[in-house]
Symmetry: none
Subunit: 521 residues, 2 copies
């Protein structure tokens, strides 16, 4: 320490300012200001690695190693210490050609965090930089995806269940049998001979002797398992005196009542939420529902042959379609604004979420009006069904849309359930849709609405949870497709195609399990 500071003093006093090309850490040739300090390439890279990936290191020479271009490799601890004492830091690094404003930090006394002893703790912790990322030049082989920060955890579990299943932590410490199961036997049981168990195995043999002597040895008469069990039950249970019936009932009641009250209260909450959805529908989609129901009923009754003819020109239809998209979006926004709890999301997240969910909501809204691969919806004054969809859109894409709508249809949802499902889907807590501070809340909302859906869904005989789960998964795929394809579609001209020229392919629907690093969110 004294050594270093002397050197610093001399340099700064005798050659006060520039030392234009010297690394403040090792005195080598500097290539500019890195991490706030005039430094060389080596010290720059070393500092980054030291902060991001090295573990602890310690000086073995007393902590006062001189750092020069020749010696800087000899003691990592002292080199890092020097970096820190010169003011290097990863935080607040400006990307791009920012002003080197941070230089003032190096002035005056060494910054607060500089360790005085030479045991530098190289934590793997890092600020916003994220794990070291590899970018690939075109066509390079696959890159490894670097370790994911601990924050980004479970992805799909919450698809399966509602609040009651996910809210709260795991209840108990798992002592999984998996170690045994997976057939890697050797490292499993370390506590082989810890016979300090409360109940050691000898008791078995003890009992064995007793019972063998008492019950079974002498009589050779057949003894069924049933008889044996009865005897043991009698013996065992008689030891514990049982309460009277009245006492039992009291016990039962106290055990059940509060829990049942909880369940009742929960059901009331869920029903409130369902009512909220019903009201939201009445405020928004109701007109559409009536129109389309009527239209479908009429079309189906008039004419068994369901292939409907086009009733306008492409250009007119495109204009109408654009308008209907606007209308649908407005309805979706309005619908979600009526959902209890939704308004507590930030406006920006609302916008992000609903933009991302447009396609899925569009499909859910229309699913009830699909019959025999035809869609009976009306936009403007025109029937917008398979004919126009196939005319305007990629046919594989259209097939996917119908597949999804038919999947939804197989659920046989009631009207309320259908829009409850829409709410659930609009609230799926995908990381890329959540504000950083809203993830927990959205997870709550999602599972709450899912609870509500499951609640009314399960009261019906047809409740098909597997299919429901499948639909939720498909919705995620549609969301992915929306981002990658649908939102790039140019709806202003006749073959509606994406502006980036990447045509539809099923791979666009793939939902990978990967989560992008969310460390600093």
């Amino acid at each position: 320490m004294p050594e270093d500071s002397n050197v610093d003093m001399e340099e700064t006093t005798l050659w006060p300012l520039p030392t234009p090309n010297l690394c403040k850490v090792c005195n080598g040739t500097s290539t500019g200001v890195h991490y706030g300090v005039q430094s060389c390439e080596g010290c720059k890279a070393f500092f980054k690695r030291a902060i991001c990936q090295y573990g602890q290191s310690k000086c073995y020479f007393g902590g006062t190693c001189l750092i020069t271009p020749e010696t800087r490799g000899r003691c990592k601890a002292c080199r890092l210490q020097k970096c820190l004492s010169e003011g290097m830091a990863l935080d607040g690094t400006k990307v791009g050609r920012g002003r080197g404003l941070r230089n003032f930090r190096a002035q005056g006394s060494t910054p607060s965090g500089s360790p005085s002893s030479s045991t530098s703790v190289m934590t793997p912790f890092h600020s916003s930089a994220g794990p070291i990322r590899t970018t690939s030049p075109a066509g390079s082989p696959a890159k490894s995806i670097i370790s994911r920060p601990p924050g980004a955890d479970q992805g799909h579990d919450f698809i399966e269940r509602g609040c009651f299943a996910t809210a709260g932590k795991p209840l108990i410490i798992m002592q999984p049998f998996e170690h045994l199961r997976r057939g890697i036997p050797h490292n499993v049981i370390v506590n082989v001979n810890n016979s300090n168990t409360t109940r050691d195995s000898s008791c078995i043999s003890v009992k064995e002797d007793e019972d063998a002597v008492n019950d079974r040895e002498a009589p050779k008469s057949p003894q069924t398992l049933g008889v044996c069990l009865d005897k043991i039950m009698e013996r065992e249970l008689i030891v514990h005196r049982n309460a009277t019936a009245a006492q039992r009932n009291a016990g039962r009641f106290s055990f059940m009542s509060s829990y049942l009250a909880l369940l009742a209260e929960r059901n009331k909450r869920l029903e409130d939420t369902v009512s909220g959805v019903t009201e939201a529908v009445a405020f928004t989609y109701r007109g559409q529902i009536e129109d389309w129901s009527h239209f479908m009923a009429r079309s189906l009754s008039e004419n068994d042959d369901i292939v409907l003819k086009p009733d306008t020109t492409i250009d007119n239809l495109i204009v109408t379609l654009q308008a209907s998209i606007v209308n649908d979006t407005e309805l979706l926004v309005e619908f979600c604004r009526h959902l209890p709890g939704f308004s507590e999301l930030s406006r920006r997240e609302q916008a992000r979420r609903l933009s991302a969910k447009f396609t899925t909501a569009w499909l859910l809204n229309r699913a009830p009006y699909v019959r025999n691969r035809e869609l009976f919806s009306v936009i403007g004054k025109h029937h917008y069904g398979r004919y126009w969809m196939e005319t305007l859109l990629d046919s594989q894409f259209v097939r996917l849309l119908f597949d999804f709508m038919e999947s939804v249809n197989e659920l046989n949802l009631s009207l309320t359930e259908n829009y409850l499902l829409m709410a659930v889907i609009c609230l799926q807590p995908s990381p890329h849709l959540c504000d950083p501070d809203s993830i927990q809340y959205v997870k709550f909302l999602y599972s709450h609405y899912l609870d509500a859906l499951m609640h009314i869904f399960s009261t019906r005989h047809s409740g098909n949870f597997i299919q429901l789960r499948s639909v939720l998964m498909q919705a995620l795929a549609i969301d992915a497709l929306h981002l990658r394809y649908v939102s790039l579609l140019d709806f202003s001209r006749s073959p509606i195609r994406p502006v980036n020229g990447i045509e539809y392919s099923p791979t666009l629907c793939e939902v990978k399990d990967d989560r992008q690093p969310l460390s600093d969110l």
Copy 2:
């Protein structure tokens, strides 16, 4: 968060900011409209580079990365995708500069056409004359040069209007003459197959014609759905002023808190129950678990060939088996007595229930020690596995037992889950096991324990509810078999066979339509 400040501004001004200075791509601070989109310097430069010099890139995180100022550097593919879906395009619409021309010339071999069309290709095929050749990796030609579709205008005039001009929506102010100002009327064939003569003026004139034809709504300005959605969202959501972050948090809290309190209370109940099970295990099965785990681990590690040899005589084994049955029964009774709520059953029902569940519990207790069709359990001092089972018992019956244990195994249960499952099964409310006055209570207990099981089961990724349901059904079958067959087995002599002479057959497992409350699953 920048958003908060915006919200605050909003609160004070009472008038929604028309377009906050936010980058449409990354939500950072915008510096104006670049390439047709309100964007920041970074996204502007990125887009330019991405189009002109980068090769293709691909997302390694699933293709739905969130793009924020902090995260935008992590995934080029998603950033570019977002740029495109927001409508960014390189073309000559805002040709304001000659520098680029100079640059093109300096590069040599520039297509000499008008500067605005130099990169204008709508197809996924890239123009062979890539304008800027850089040091991009060798042989990565395929980057389609994106161009703004003809007719796209830029700047604020478009932003002010709803996208798609919101045909039929009176609240939007049309600016039908905006394009007249810019474009020279020009009769070009309507561009379903957009010819590459994408001069700005021509496209605008086309659009004008369309406007005139279609009752002056919906100018055909090519826009992606993504842009459209953004604009509507902005318009719709801006009408409803959002609360401050603090207000939102308060709202969230009030919405969540009582419900979460319910959940917490419920989880506490479940947790209590699970703890009860864990304690019950510690009091009863713990010694067995340790012994058998150790035995299995040792057996598997010593010897890949798992066929274990008999280590005693049949007569000895039968005696030992009898003793172990006694022991198992005692353990089962003791285990269930520790289960919260179980003691409130009448002694008679306890006995009836546990007698009936003996076989199922026996199997559940041993399922974790089954590997490759071998059972690694120890009774007395002897291994009791497939060899002895098949020697003593009906081989079809043995096969059934192994089938069930392997089904249980497939659930990959933790230790606690395994015995929680045992509790659930012991509490199945079959009518023939219940006292008349206890049916409701048993149903409650059953669903309570099932809740607890589902709860911890669902927190694990492997939660396989279908398999769980299947196991519960199989358990009922085993119960039926126990009554009809197992309890009649005479364990006192060597081939263990039923005293009534009715040999095992699968029909004995049939469960009458007993209407078990499995709908809870």
